[in-house]
């Protein structure tokens, strides 16, 4: 008798709880807090949307140029606007209830997985390719925002931007840079080759005046080639193109090789370049060709803006999680005002050696961009007439 009463009480308790849940749900619907109900089915969840809920927002989302999706915490699409359906060429019925992961191009599944990671607090963006009904794929940018609802209902809003046009424009820009590079450099290269063959006596002996005139032509042509190189390098880094894959670089080895290469030119200027490396190897993940060129550029500048007979020192050390490269010269130096313009495009600083150095004012702008690309830092201390000290800081760990 006692057992039966207790069972009835438990049943009443359970029914009360279910009634409270149903009342809460109805209240939430009435208040406009619910715009869809997900009912777990045998094969896949079914989604019931409420027409009256958030009508204005729905209209807004339907009139967007981008695709908009709401997905649950396992990636099941609960809502999709028309644009997404048109973007991938599939009817809404086929999209809703499917997992968003199933639309990712196989190669981009890892990116999609990262995007769908649970409990992400911030917005997450990923550029990847989605398969379409036309057996092709399109490049898209997915921006996901986690909605702070309770655990069971947690879902993400995903805005999908079609990047096809932007990608085509970037490809066209890249093509332009490549063609411009070829078209500008080829004639100047031919001039260089012919002048040097004449200078090297392939077409007979030259008198002093002829040699001098050709050397001047050669010097001018070299300047033109440098300008073209600098312009193209800047165009490439501005466009974010042709950036090589990061590789582990032994920084000491790199410095040794750069110093050896530049020492020949330094000797012509009667300068000495010394370097000091630590006993242990210091390695960092770098876009090796770009980073090497950036260090080369600073060291070459140090040599160009240092008078004959002076010393240039390069050193490498590590501190905490950073590699530090210091390039110090006894050159003409810079004023505070000059330093503030140092990384601007086309900024050339007037000093006693600037005409001879013949720069384009693009080198350090480019160097700064390369350092930024490595999440590094560049500092400069200088005194007019005393010299300049560049400090390059590069993260060691997790820099790949």
């Amino acid at each position: 008798m006692m057992a039966s009463t207790s069972n009835t009480n438990e049943e009443i308790q359970a029914l009360r709880m279910r009634l409270r849940e149903a009342e809460d749900t109805l209240e939430a619907i009435r208040m406009g807090s619910v715009d869809a109900l997900v009912v777990k089915g045998v094969q896949k969840p079914q989604v019931f949307t409420l027409k009256s809920a958030d009508y204005t927002y729905r209209m807004l989302i339907e009139s967007m140029n981008q695709g908009a999706l709401a997905v649950d915490n396992s990636g099941v699409i609960l809502f999709s606007n028309k644009q997404f359906s048109e973007m991938i060429g599939m009817p809404l019925e086929q999209i809703i209830g499917s997992k968003i992961q199933s639309f990712a191009d196989p190669a981009d599944r890892p990116s999609m997985k990262r995007l769908m990671k649970k409990n992400q607090k911030n917005n997450v963006n990923a550029e990847l390719r989605l398969k379409t009904a036309y057996k092709t794929s399109i490049g898209v940018l997915l921006s996901a925002t986690m909605l702070p609802l309770d655990e069971a209902l947690a879902y993400q809003c995903i805005v999908v931007t079609d990047m096809t046009e932007r990608n085509q424009a970037e490809e066209a820009k890249d093509e332009f840079i490549s063609v411009a590079s070829h078209q500008l450099r080829t004639p100047a290269t031919a001039v260089k080759q012919y002048i040097n063959m004449v200078l090297d006596g392939y077409f007979g002996k030259l008198n002093k005046a002829q040699t001098k005139a050709l050397e001047k032509a050669n010097f001018s042509n070299e300047r033109e080639l440098n300008v073209i190189d600098d312009l193209l390098r800047v165009a490439q880094i501005d466009a974010g193109k042709n950036i090589s894959i990061k590789k582990i670089t032994d920084l000491g080895q790199m410095i040794e090789s750069i110093v050896n290469e530049l020492s020949v030119r330094a000797r012509q200027r009667k300068q000495t370049i010394t370097y000091k490396l630590p006993k242990d190897n210091i390695e960092a993940g770098t876009h090796s060709d770009l980073f090497r060129m950036a260090v080369e550029n600073i060291l070459d500048n140090a040599s160009k803006y240092t008078p004959e007979g002076k010393l240039i020192k390069v050193s490498l050390q590590s501190k905490d999680d950073y590699a530090i490269i210091i390039i110090e010269d006894e050159g003409v130096g810079m004023s505070e005002e000059d330093i503030s313009k140092l990384y601007q495009k086309f900024s050339r600083l007037p000093n006693s050696l600037s005409v001879e150095a013949g720069g384009t004012g693009l080198g350090l702008y480019w160097v700064k961009k390369v350092v930024d690309l490595h999440q590094g830092d560049i500092e400069v201390v200088s005194k007019v007439g005393k010299g300049t000290r560049f400090k390059l800081v590069l993260p060691l760990k997790d820099s790949l």
Binding site: I177, S178, S181, H182, R185, T186, A188, T189, A190, K192, Q193, Y194, N196, M197, D200, Y202, L225, D229, L232, R233, Q236, N242, S244, D289
Partner: protein, 121 residues
């Protein structure tokens, strides 16, 4: 006499490399794109190829791929000629069997000859 194939679409450059290499005692054949280079190799196998990267019809990377040179003729040395804008092509070309990369405008003909000599020796 060592044989060198110059693959370069720019006539002025082809002529100057031919002149410099012939004066240094090499036997030189010329091609203005990747397809011409393949036909040239069918007639006479070179010891070294000076290969431009950016060319019409079949570019440098296309030539390396089409000819399957790395597998078929691994003994042939290949110097790649490029400019700074083609670093992606360059990485691919290096994996397809190129020996060395040179930025065309960095070297004078005599400096190029020194490079060729050191590779062929």
């Amino acid at each position: 006499m060592k044989k060198i194939l110059v693959v370069e679409d720019e006539q002025l450059l082809r002529e100057i490399y031919e002149l410099a290499l012939t004066s240094a005692g090499y036997k030189v054949s010329l091609a203005s794109d990747g397809y011409e280079a393949i036909s040239s190799m069918e007639k006479s196998m070179p010891d070294l190829i000076l290969l431009d990267l950016l060319m019409p019809k079949l570019d440098g990377v296309g030539f390396l791929r089409e000819s399957d040179i790395k597998k078929k003729w691994p003994q042939i040395k290949i110097i790649l000629f490029s400019n700074i804008s083609s670093s992606k092509n360059l990485e691919e070309a290096m994996t397809l069997g190129a020996t060395k990369h040179i930025v065309k405008s960095n070297l004078t003909p005599n400096q190029l000859l020194a490079e060729v000599k050191s590779i062929l020796e």
